[in-house]
Amino acid sequence: MRYRRLRDRIVETLLLVAGLVAVFTTLAIVAVLLYESMAFFAHVSIVEFMTGTMWTPLFADAHYGILPLVAGTLTTTLVALLVAVPLGITIAIYLSEFAPHRVRETVKPILELLGAVPTVVYGYFALTMVTPALRVLMPELPGFNMLSAGLVIGLMIVPYVSSLSEDAMRAVPRYMREGSYAMGATRLQTALRVVVPGAFSGLAAAFILGISRAVGETMVVAIAAGMQPNFTFDPREPAATITAYIVQVSLGDLPHGSIGYQSIFAAGLVLVLMTLVFNVVGFFLTRRFREAY
């Protein structure tokens, strides 16, 4: 009995340590980003970093304005959302309110495969299929552009948005729908006026997750958007995002401790802060619109 109790104690401690790995990972991410960024900001003024419109850290004539990378990131994210939100919501409403049980159970896992496709494969798709297809409509479109990268990222996050939205809509209690039907509403009216507002907090959470994915997506933009930091919000132009810049620098052979090496950590810090802002906004949105049944 003593032995068994001792063994239980040891096991519990080991399990706790495993649980703490997640905490240490978060701490390590924050520590590494802050440590290297601090070294970066010892050379570069924060004002220049936040307001400069030129990003050329690896050139002889170095400029350290992050705005072009932020603009690229926001533009591709916006294009992605313009695809993912309407498609995702339509699929979610269809699956949750209209589709027969069997269809839902079959389609959902297959849709989730869209989100499992390796992003480098999506990059190839954007570059060799989507861009040439867009060029038929827009002959002026350059080979690298944010539009096709954004469209493909949008497609990739459709399953995240639709799956979470569907879960949220299914959580709306049945009697609310029944009340609506009893008033003479059709399925579509019930879906749009009762279920969607009722599930709003869940839908907001789904969009926020979609935004986070789009902001952090790397390979599609690195392959299809070109890697030229370009201060523009026009999706038809080539540009670099924060993530694409990090990849570009990592592909070269930058010496450890150089300013170029530190710059990717500063860029990474901005990326983390951006996702954090979206998550906080999402948190408050969800709280603000939480429906109590």
Partner: protein
């Protein structure tokens, strides 16, 4: 005034809208599914000429038609081994802790928040973490070990969440029966909870690994090489002790890195190689996901509490 006739017309109009929506929903859904098919067919068609035994047994080369993915698939296999060996035990242990042991206090809350947060951290940030911590601080260098550990941290939340769900599905009554017979908490977990949740745990593990296999950004960041014409040290030796871990320290490339490298070459001939590598990569991911879905389905059907 509202007449019967008017109401009927109104209802008919609204029902048409319903039907239009059903059609839209179906079209949108099918379009998304079609794209998956188009993606796969396109890759296979573009890379068709390159599928051959030689493609698997040759190193990368400056000549597109002689280049193969030998170093890439060996690298991917070894990295996945490290990832699985690290992520699965830690992830399952963490999940057991959170489901079976954790008291409701601030420490548990912090762990839970961290797991959720890690799932939302962009993958390239894990690359930066690994570059600063594993490559330079722990001095692992740009090695298979560093890559495997990085991906292990990346998929940890997936394994934890899936395992927790599987554990939660085991009914309370089973635990209570075991406790009633005098089993300790660990005995209940080891002999009852874990065996009954194997299906869910396997599903999580496969989903995690299928995510890791396609991840490109974090291992580019730690410095995967895109041109490697040698294999890592073999893990099996002819003399005692027959097993060697030297390969952990070797530089590496992986399937997605190899594909990315071929895509970025201006020479058109390499695009076929990229497509062929992509088709293989996509095929592996789809098979792994299919297996995961199948396991989930089978275990759900088999178990009758």
């Amino acid at each position: 005034m509202v007449t019967m006739e008017g109401m009927r017309r109104d209802l008919a109009r609204r029902e048409v809208l319903d039907r239009i929506f059903v059609l839209t929903g179906l079209v949108v859904m099918l379009a998304c599914l079609m794209i998956l098919a188009v993606l796969f067919i396109d890759l296979v068609r573009d890379g068709w000429e390159r599928f051959s035994w030689d493609f698997f047994t040759h190193f990368a080369s400056r000549h597109a038609e002689r280049a193969g993915i030998l170093a890439a698939w060996v690298g991917t296999t070894l990295i996945m081994a490290v990832t699985a060996i690290c992520a699965v035990p830690i992830g399952v242990a963490a999940a057991i802790y959170l489901e079976e042991y954790a008291p409701k206090n601030w420490m548990t809350a912090i762990i839970e928040i961290n797991v959720t947060n890690l799932a939302g951290v962009p993958s390239i940030i894990f690359g930066l973490l690994a570059l600063g911590l594993f490559v330079y601080q722990f001095d692992l260098g740009q090695s298979i070990a560093a890559a495997g550990l990085t991906l292990a941290l990346l998929i940890l939340p997936i394994v934890i969440v899936a395992t927790r769900e599987a554990i939660r599905a085991v009914p309370k009554a089973i635990r209570e029966a075991a406790y009633g017979l005098g089993a300790t908490r660990w005995e209940v977990t080891k002999d009852h909870v874990l065996p009954y949740s194997t299906g869910g745990i396997l599903t999580g593990m496969i989903l995690g690994l299928s995510r890791a296999i396609g991840e490109t950004a974090p291992i580019i960041t730690i410095g995967a090489l895109s041109f490697i014409a040698f294999l890592p040290e073999s893990p099996f030796k002819s003399e005692f002790p027959f097993i060697s871990f030297d390969w952990l320290n070797d530089p590496f490339t992986a399937m997605p890195i190899q594909m990315f490298n071929w895509i970025s070459r201006p020479d058109q001939a390499f695009q076929a190689n990229a497509a062929a590598a992509g088709a293989i990569l996509l095929g592996m991911t789809l098979i792994m996901n299919g297996v995961a879905i199948w396991i989930r389905y089978r275990f759900r059907k088999k178990i009758n509490w």
